[in-house]
């Protein structure tokens, strides 16, 4: 496939009908929360879009994000959209290896300087450059070098967006996110462990259609996909309201599909499209399968106090702290009590009986003569 081939040509070549393509455009429009009137505009933009060069860098990651994208929805139109970009470097998917692979990256960078999209999955270790290298180049150096010529950066997965699992306490490699290092480029954070495939393709479709990155929330995530929290869109929400909770994974409540809050569901603090876009071609999402949300699209989701601990429970052990404070309070209280007792006893000992005579003698206005 050449760089000059448009998406329309690519789709036609791959046997995708006009109807199928428009269906995808309509889905994309609804996912991006755009009015239906935008569908023709999206179709027109996508049809004439030249395949932009994409360089995909994988750092400290598990390849789950790439798996999510390539496996779960293929072969569909979303998959073809991905074919329709020119994925010039992705060391899991590309055929080239060794020096040839690195040359592909350098060539793509040179040819498309200032125009290519940089996709990053995985976190970057700052502790020791040797923790993660590609072709002898440290992740940090490769990211800085490749980011320089990028039009925009898409950080895919929670590792690239927030540090993810490598950053989890005690963060042995000193892992950081892409936005911790790159400050001068537009960065879209597509978080999730892994992110929903349609969210990744949606961000790319937005870029192809409008040439800009979508509107982002305070954590740099596209609002269209991360604007709602799971709890608000959860079909089990009525049970939360009614106070009907599953207490274990196999009790009556769990069988009846009651709320999983007490089993540690992090839905209330997790912003993602799982409850609406769903997984495996719209089959279901974790809560629908009977497991609470882990909060994987949020920063520090590994350190939120435990996957099976209710959100309102302390993230740390407070009971022991409270016991120590109780002991210390009792000791201090007894100390103060002892001081008070001593004061009382001192007052009793120091008590002097005052007579009329004593009072008169000390009164300077009275003379000895008057007294007697």
């Amino acid at each position: 496939m050449s760089h000059d081939e448009t998406l329309k040509e690519s789709l036609t070549r791959n046997g995708v009908s006009r109807r199928g393509f428009l269906k995808f455009c309509a889905t994309a429009a609804s996912i991006m929360a755009l009015p239906p009137s935008m569908v023709p505009a999206i179709a027109a933009a996508l049809e004439s879009a030249r395949r932009p060069s994409v360089i995909w860098l994988s750092f400290q990651e598990c390849t789950g994000c790439a798996e999510s994208l390539t496996r779960s929805h293929s072969p569909t139109v979303e998959g073809l959209i991905f074919d329709a970009i020119s994925l010039d470097y992705q060391h899991t998917l590309q055929a080239a290896a060794g020096d040839a692979a690195e040359e592909a990256r350098e060539e793509a960078m040179k040819e498309n300087w200032g125009k290519y999209i940089l996709v990053v999955d995985g976190s970057i270790p700052l502790g020791n450059p040797g923790y993660s290298t590609i072709a002898g180049i440290s992740n940090l150096d490769m990211l800085k070098e490749t980011a320089k010529g990028a039009a925009a950066i898409v950080a895919v997965g929670t590792c690239a967006t927030f540090g993810g699992i490598p950053k989890a306490n005690p963060n042995p490699t000193g892992a950081v996110s892409v936005s911790d290092i790159i400050k001068d480029k537009p960065i879209v954070n597509v978080s999730g462990c892994p992110p929903i495939p349609v969210v990744i393709t949606g961000v790319l479709a937005h870029f192809l259609t409008f040439g800009t990155i979508p509107e982002l929330d305070e954590l740099g995530r596209p609002k269209v996909f991360y604007g709602n929290n799971i709890h608000d869109r959860c079909y089990r929400r009525p049970f939360y309201e009614r106070g009907e909770f599953a207490e274990t994974f196999d009790d009556e409540g769990a069988k009846k599909g009651w709320c999983l809050f007490k089993l540690g569901c992090k839905g209330p603090i997790t912003y993602n499209a799982c409850a609406t876009a769903k997984w495996n071609e719209g089959t279901s999402f974790p809560i629908e399968s009977g497991h609470g949300c882990l909060g994987c699209s949020e920063p520090n989701f590994w350190d939120m106090g435990g996957f099976y601990k209710a959100l309102s429970q302390p993230a740390v052990d407070v009971s022991q702290t409270a016991a120590y404070a109780l002991g210390a309070g009792a000791v201090a209280g007894l100390g103060i009590a002892a001081l008070n007792r001593k004061k009382k006893a001192d007052v009793a000992t120091d008590h002097q009986t005052v007579t009329i005579h004593d009072l008169r003698r000390n009164d300077p206005s009275k003379t000895e003569a008057e007294d007697s």
């Binding site: 929290n229 106070g243 939120m304 209710a310 429970q313 993230a315 407070v318 404070a325 209280g333």
Partner: protein, 220 residues
């Protein structure tokens, strides 16, 4: 600091700090008060006073005197709404119970959230009425100190932030929830050292005065 870091801090370190100060403070104050003791009673007592103490806790908690009821209707009604409301909101909301369960190891049944929500609103209305009363009644205003307004705010902020976070209003839920937890932590920190310590001393004091009256043979 983003909302996730903030929320994690208030659920972790912040809660540790607040718990230490709260527990230490309450225990300290109770020891301090309970060890004060009182003068030896040289008179012949007319009863042990033990039972009368509990009787007093009950009778002083009920608005039985018609005259007082008539004169202080406002204070009594708002006071009851506020305290019953606080009890329901703090101890019967499912997420709160699960918090206590996490700390003490046991929980109790919750009631449905919209009912707790209603109590939260009633409690806030009562608190606002109490504040208005304090600001407009000349005697009460004269008697009010800065601490009175401070403890009012300490009580009101957790309620309003809890309400806003439950309804997902104004701020992003994570921020609002974090602020709600932080406001409760501030309440915990100041409770032992302000008038709010009456939560722990009130019934002790009522028992004490009841037992004194019992010893003297006075009906409480």
């Amino acid at each position: 600091m983003n909302s996730a870091d903030f929320l994690l801090w208030v659920r972790g370190t912040g809660l540790q700090i607040a718990t230490v100060i709260f527990v230490f403070g309450v225990v300290l104050r109770l020891f301090e008060i309970l060890t004060l003791g009182h003068k030896k009673n040289l008179a012949v007592t007319r009863g042990s006073g033990f039972k009368e103490g509990f009787r007093n806790i009950l009778t002083r908690s009920l608005p039985r005197d018609k005259n007082t009821l008539r004169r202080s209707m406002f204070t009594i009604v708002t006071g009851y709404v506020l305290h019953i409301g606080l009890f329901v909101v703090i101890f019967l909301l499912a997420p709160h119970i699960s918090l206590f369960e996490g700390i003490f190891g046991f929980g109790w049944p919750s009631i449905s959230t919209p009912i707790v929500d209603l109590f939260a609103v009633l409690t806030m209305i009562a608190l606002l009425a109490i504040l208005y009363h304090r600001l407009t009644n000349p005697v009460l205003k004269f008697l009010s100190t800065k601490q009175d307004y401070f403890v009012w705010a300490l009580t009101f902020v957790p309620l309003i932030t809890g309400y806003l976070s439950y309804h997902h209003l104004f701020l992003n839920y994570n921020w609002m929830l974090g602020i709600h937890i932080l406001s409760v932590e501030l309440l915990m920190i100041f409770l032992p050292f302000t008038k709010l310590s009456h939560a722990f001393t009130l019934f002790i004091a009522r028992w004490y005065s009841g037992s004194m009256m019992g010893e003297k043979g006075v009906k409480s």
